[in-house]
Symmetry: C2
Amino acid sequence: MRRLSEGVEHALHCVTLLGSLPDGALLPARAMAEFHGISETYLLKQLQALAGAGVVVSVSGPRGGYRLAKPAGETTFLDVLTAIDGPGPSFRCTEIRQRGPGAEADPCAYKAPCMIRRRMLQAEKAWRDSLADFTVADVIAEYRADAHPSLKASAREWLAPKIRMADA
Amino acid sequence: MRRLSEGVEHALHCVTLLGSLPDGALLPARAMAEFHGISETYLLKQLQALAGAGVVVSVSGPRGGYRLAKPAGETTFLDVLTAIDGPGPSFRCTEIRQRGPGAEADPCAYKAPCMIRRRMLQAEKAWRDSLADFTVADVIAEYRADAHPSLKASAREWLAPKIRMADA
DNA sequence: GGAGTGATACTCGGATATCTGGTGTCCGAGTTTTCGCGG
DNA sequence: CCGCGAAAACTCGGACACCAGATATCCGAGTATCACTCC
């Protein structure tokens, strides 16, 4: 498969970050960009796509920011990938078997689907199924179990002043 | 995942075509391009990659052309994909977790691999495993069983004069 | 002192440049065939 | 008629333009905050 967009990595890390915050907490894009050392303006583009796909929700104005739209346990890697790279399949069959000398044949002779297309989509389904099994909560749990304690503490400390709690 | 290269489709169809020829038969790139109604010069680029990866072998000069390097039953979709799109993984972890405020932390704190990277590579492995299960022979067998008889006959007839048999 | 009101500051959202990599093309290297010439 | 040799034709191989999509950026819309004024 072609090289995967770098925005996917940004989106996955940011979604994981959002999922590790307390319930109802908001985090602005600037904080996420600084935390990961990436471009803020470009990250906005990805967050915009995530918001449009219903993975995160955005709140405008001061005290605004982003938060997960659903609990971390219900947000899968596939949701994020679909939001960033689009819902369509990566392999697109252009039916080249029908071009060239085969073009004059009866169109109904091509009733059967292209075998190659079928196989490629089947492989892609395996990939999607695997991604659908991974939730953001899984990554967070693994992080909390394995990450170095001082690392977790410093991250928590750095993030604390940037977090905005909902009015609730 | 990003849109898959269109050359992949060309390569897969051409490899299938080569696999359906009699043993030792050669077919020039021009014939394959005309058969599929695609650009000959661009197809050469893909065939070059396939030859470099050892999927097909090329023979120069008149009466030259391409043939499969291994039997169709041992040539998998994964071989073709790897040859065209490169062997590297599609998801590349740039370790953004180590940038930003986490940069000052002890490097040994990052001994554990990035969880997100691990999951993405795992999903990619599922995709590769699925592709490795599909051989060119499978597609050909399915084609011979399901394709319209007149279609098979016309293709055979069109290809016949372009096929070059090895000296054997 | 409290409420209203306007300005302000901060946030996200969409439209706009730039640049890498896929797409498409060209000319050169190599090999077999073939035609011509000489024996 | 047969053998030799040079030229030609056809093939693949690598290097060169072109273009779409990802990357990176900027300006505009919306909203809560804050300060100031008035009651």
